[in-house]
Amino acid sequence: MQVNENETFVPTIVAFCCNWCSYAGADLSGTNRLQYPSNIKIIRVPCSCRVNPMFILRAFQRGADGVILCGCHPGDCHYTTGNYYARRRMTLLFSMLDYLGIERGRTRVEWVSAAEGQKFAETMKSFAAEIAALGPNRRLEDLRCRK
């Protein structure tokens, strides 16, 4: 979490992007000069399936207010099936976080292809807006790491 000069809350957002589709999508949105919020920190992963629940939790621990996972569309995975496994895993994890009382909006999965620069920018904008509305992550933060 950060606070800008006007003391308004600027969330820190971590986006895990698969190397083959979503990272390329982010790249495309950049080359097309489409704007998306600068408070989104992209972490490139070889496949959405590389992201295990620990990654998501650690992002929150280290100060993220929202975490989004982006990968290839179902059926388009570079490794054929990785995103299918990721989907089940994240569904169950998000459900568990919800069960523990963590706000539902703080986590999201979106499928963004290499051609969807526009979608990437739109997704990030809407996610950033949603997290900004939710406010700082307090329920899943590590007090030792609070800035």
Binding site: P53, M54, L57, R58, F60, Q61, P74, G75, T81, Y84, Y85, R87, R88, R89, M90, T91, L92, L93, F94, S95, M96, L97, D98, Y99, L100, G101, I102, E103, R104, G105, T107, R108, V109, R139, L140, E141, D142, L143, R144
Partner: protein
């Protein structure tokens, strides 16, 4: 039952079918039994016990015991232990050929903590009398209904059936409906996020990170746990921050999701009485609802739901949509 088991064990030892027997050893009081391996008829006669307090799931010990040379080991498995064993079999953690399984019926196990919760202390002896336990104590005799001091996991028993065995002692039972089992989870689901957060904070903040839930769990069989691996970056040994408490319990439950047979050992052993089964059962309930009913340990062949998929699986957004309904 105890005598039947003892006699059968002695017979199998005598005819050489097995060389050892894993069961429960008598304790100091009438409730503190310890899992133990018996090698002779004399040991069995002296120390073997099977009663309402023999709740400990011995299936995890069979990983170590079945790896040993020197003959088969006889294990008496209650239905829930048999599910755990079958799951271990599916994961190739036990050597089936080294284990001789006798399925034993289970009418539910008593929880000494619930007897003590009823205000009974200074226990000297516990005897079964019809539907009651007669508890003799330093402070006089007390009587409780057996049904009132059943362990939580037994109240929510999923099955009285043994999915795996070599022989059965007594009658085979049947599966039980899941609604009781999931009632606790369902109740939490109807609460608001704030209520749930407060509930789990008050429960998980009691955690002393003794690792009993992990170490007793028949599904937790990693050679080197991520929480013990200094290179993992998360082995902190202690819940130094509420985040650590949440993380430990989320990851512990997640790691056994799809493999947890809901034997309830985690909740049984928790010295702080944290209802850990509510975490495990949440995953089971979600899996059932999203990917079709799945029962870990049902057989040793079906792929577990986290290592399989269908193209039409629900998107992760189902969590948010479900909330809106």
């Amino acid at each position: 039952m105890q005598e039947m088991m003892k006699n059968r064990a002695k017979a199998l030892l005598a005819d050489g079918t097995v060389s050892r027997v894993i069961g429960w050893r008598r304790g100091e009081f009438s409730y503190d039994v310890t899992p133990a391996v018996f090698e002779t008829a004399e040991e069995l006669e002296r120390d073997f016990v099977f009663d309402a307090f023999c709740g400990a799931n011995v299936s995890k010990y069979l990983i170590r015991e079945s790896a040993k040379d020197g003959g088969r080991i006889l294990a008496f498995l209650k239905p829930c232990d048999a599910f755990s064993f079958n799951q271990l079999l599916a994961e190739h953690r036990v050597r089936r050929e080294n284990v001789y399984l006798i399925g034993i019926p289970c009418a539910g196990k008593a929880d000494i903590d619930r007897i003590k919760k009823a205000g009974i202390d200074g226990v000297l002896g516990i005897a079964e009398d019809g539907e009651d336990f007669v508890v003799s104590t330093v402070y006089g005799e007390e009587r409780v209904k057996q049904a009132d001091v059943l362990a939580e996991r037994c109240l929510a028993c999923k099955s009285k059936r043994h999915p795996v065995y070599d022989e059965l002692l007594g009658e085979e039972g049947e599966d039980l409906p899941d609604d009781v089992r999931f009632a606790g989870v369902a109740k939490l689901e109807t609460m608001t996020a704030e209520e749930r957060f407060d509930f789990w904070r008050s429960e998980l903040s009691k955690c002393i990170r003794c690792n009993a839930c992990r170490n007793v769990c028949p599904a937790c069989t990693c050679e080197n746990c991520v929480f013990d691996n200094p290179d993992s970056g998360i082995s902190q040994k202690t819940a130094a921050d509420p985040f650590e408490e949440n993380m430990y319990h989320i990851i512990r439950a997640f790691h056994v999701a799809g493999r947890c047979t809901d034997c309830g050992e985690c909740s049984r052993v928790c010295p702080e009485h944290i209802p850990l089964h509510l975490l495990n059962r949440k995953f089971i309930k979600d899996i059932d609802e999203l990917y079709g009913t799945y029962r870990a340990g049902e057989d040793d062949g079906t792929k577990n739901p986290l290592t399989s998929y269908t193209e039409g699986d629900a998107e992760a957004s189902v969590v948010r949509e479900r909330g809106r309904a």
